[in-house]
Symmetry: C2
Subunit: 422 residues, 2 copies
């Protein structure tokens, strides 16, 4: 099938998926879990071939590419948890009696067809496909090429387990197809790209389809004048070093000038003990040994054991810095001053505004949303970790008994607009 036919099939499937019952979707998810077990040998064999070809890749990439018994167990646990999550479709979000017998409800529904482009991580294919299925969306997937045999084996097992509606899951195999997919605005409702910042920007610049992605993860920890120093040290160490190569790791530390002398030497020692390279502004360098930061550092996502440090004169300077250089992902204030915390969390434009806790909590599982398809740094629709709810939109359902607007325009009838409790 060409990409146009794939898009048309996905669109047709999406209409059917929108009307599936919870039971039908959960049975399909159970069938997928069973098929993954039944086809495990073939999937592992395909993965072995992918891994054999993947010579010269860095260890973390190879680790992500691996799909073994352990990954299978994780994936199966994920499906089990997904089955137990509440039905996301058909939820009444708002109900208003417009007039007697004329009832308006805002009801959650699937978005339609999701185009998802992601890294060479085969377990993500299952996670994304099952999240889309549970939320009633058809999906067109393209994983990193290093995982192509594993992805093909996984997709085959999923489609075998859930043959209907045909077209609910489509696995693309080439980059060419992704490029073609970007033009299919008549079939695809949303594109979710995961990968490098440059890649996400490329997708955004080359499609008229809405894109939900994240531009960058330049997360800040701001240590306020009234911070608890030990708590602040603990939070910056966790935010920076608990897992350095992820988008919710901190990249910049901002420190109020009044606490710099008490905090910075301790923080620098703790960070250096974790092998973090420090790059500081002129003022920060008076309190601890570190290299000089350049203007470029404030907008750099290191994804590594490197941290930029700036001393600021005020809370408002910290907020302005974050709103200028941040990427709208996750930013934290450490303070014992509730007013300062409230000011900070109201004024920063980020999707995730934290007070006295590590930026690393910014994650769908940790938020209790179940799995996530990604983290959105856009401002519209879903923000932060995107799970089932972010894969849904809503429609307005109005039910009447022959009601016409002419009666209201003439004044013969008037609207009641009272909430319906359900």
């Amino acid at each position: 099938m060409g990409i146009f036919e794939i898009g048309a099939a996905a669109k047709a499937a999406s209409i059917q998926l929108a009307a599936l019952s919870s039971e039908a979707k959960n049975s399909a998810l159970a069938a997928i879990a069973q098929a993954l077990k039944t086809n495990a040998a073939a999937i592992f064999a395909a993965n072995k071939q992918d891994l054999e070809e993947a010579t010269g890749l860095p260890a973390p990439v190879v680790k992500r590419l691996t799909f073994d018994e352990k990954k299978l167990a994780d994936v199966l646990a994920g499906i089990k948890s997904l089955i137990s999550l509440p039905e996301p479709v058909g939820v009444v979000q708002k109900a208003t009696l417009l007039d007697d017998g004329l009832e308006l409800r805002r009801i959650s529904c699937p978005i339609g067809v999701i185009g998802m482009v992601f890294e060479a991580r085969p377990d993500a294919l299952v996670q994304i496909a099952t999240l889309c299925l549970k939320s009633g969306n058809a999906v067109i997937l393209k994983g990193g090429k290093e995982a192509r045999r594993t992805n093909a084996a996984l997709a085959a097992a999923l489609v075998q387990a859930v043959p209907e509606p045909a077209g609910w899951l489509n696995n693309l195999e080439t980059r060419e197809e992704v490029k073609e997919m970007l033009a299919l605005s008549q079939f695809i409702d949303l594109i979710i790209p995961r990968g490098s910042n440059a890649f996400v920007q490329y997708i955004m610049a080359n499609t008229s389809i809405p894109v939900m992605g994240h531009a960058d993860g330049i997360c800040h920890v701001y240590v306020d004048a009234k911070a608890d120093v030990d708590m602040a040290v603990k939070i910056i160490v966790d935010s920076k070093t608990q897992y350095v190569s992820v988008c919710n790791a901190a990249e910049t530390l901002l420190v109020h000038k009044d606490i710099a002398a008490a905090f910075l030497p301790k923080a620098a020692a703790a960070l250096k003990a974790k092998k973090v390279r420090l790059l500081g502004c002129q003022v920060a360098r008076q309190y601890a040994e570190m290299e000089e930061a350049t203007e470029q550092d404030w907008s750099t996502e290191y994804l590594d054991y490197i941290l930029s440090i700036k001393v600021v004169d005020s809370l408002d300077e910290a907020i302005a810095h974050i709103n200028k250089y941040g990427s709208g992902h996750t930013d934290c204030i450490v303070t014992n001053d509730a007013t300062a915390a409230q000011h900070f969390t109201s004024l920063i434009k980020s999707a995730d505004a934290f007070w006295n806790c590590s930026t690393r909590f910014s994650d769908g599982f940790r938020y209790g949303l179940g799995a996530e398809v990604g983290i959105s740094t856009g401002k519209l629709h879903a923000r932060g970790p995107v799970g089932l709810e972010g894969l849904c939109t809503y429609k307005w359902l109005l039910t009447g008994h022959g009601d016409i607007v002419a009666d209201y325009a003439s004044g013969a009838k008037t609207f009641k607009h009272t909430p319906i409790s359900e």
Copy 2:
């Protein structure tokens, strides 16, 4: 100020607006109402000049362009009603205890800076500006050029009434500036274009800023086999003729073949009595006199006393027709069969799915949302009539006491993920 400076000022203002209290915003709205009264003479004089120049425009356009005592009274009533609406910012949408002392809340917040392009209708300027103010957004406005003097006078009165934060309201005067505005993705978070379909498409094709607009209003009424014939006649007459030049007016009537003989002659007579020109498929033309419809008619938004009519073999054919030719705006089924209605409303992809009522109800005021900035036919963020809620997004607020992810990664702590009732 150049457009870049205007964008930067709006961005700076948006940060301040996000933290304004309800009281401050409602006082500002009251001040605006007062300033409009105080400056009424100057505004009417500006409008008189605009109207004098507007020779040769169709009567409905002149009517929209007029800003007189009656329009002022409407605008003031709108502001009064807006003041009484609940505060849209800071609403806790979801609250989860991640662990003892670690609380996650999803809280509504403004989007930031809205770029709004609209028709030559000066009362819309006030409506849009005040909706943005109440929802804590800064706004860059550009109204139709025919209203430029009135818009300038209105904008001046609004800024005089609410001088701070500077840059909350920006009134553009030229088309050139709109073009430049489309490039300001660093400052503008959302563009809402109102106007012709071609214009909205132009905006979408020429910016990387998210756009919330409606492509078209090709609304359908589908008369099912089990419809009440008299009710169906009443609904199609209202949907088509109550106000023909608006996006929620019906453009196509679909009729199940089993009811065509009973329904179509009555419907045709009632529609012709309202001077509606009928264009039908071959089968429809067997039941009433009408011209022949072409393929082009199924995707045409007439905005006039014209209706295309097609007889379908089944409910599913009606759904497929709507999903193919419709614009995702508002579509109605007329039926006494609840199962058919449920099937229809689940499977059509439109923002507004109606059962036994006129498509003309699809409107922010009628929905009880207060005023609206427009109707969105996109699938993401806000759909259908967009009021205060659609001008807000949310952020995740996580408050802790020095909590770090390392404790959960090591297994020393586990998440509780229990809802917080507030």
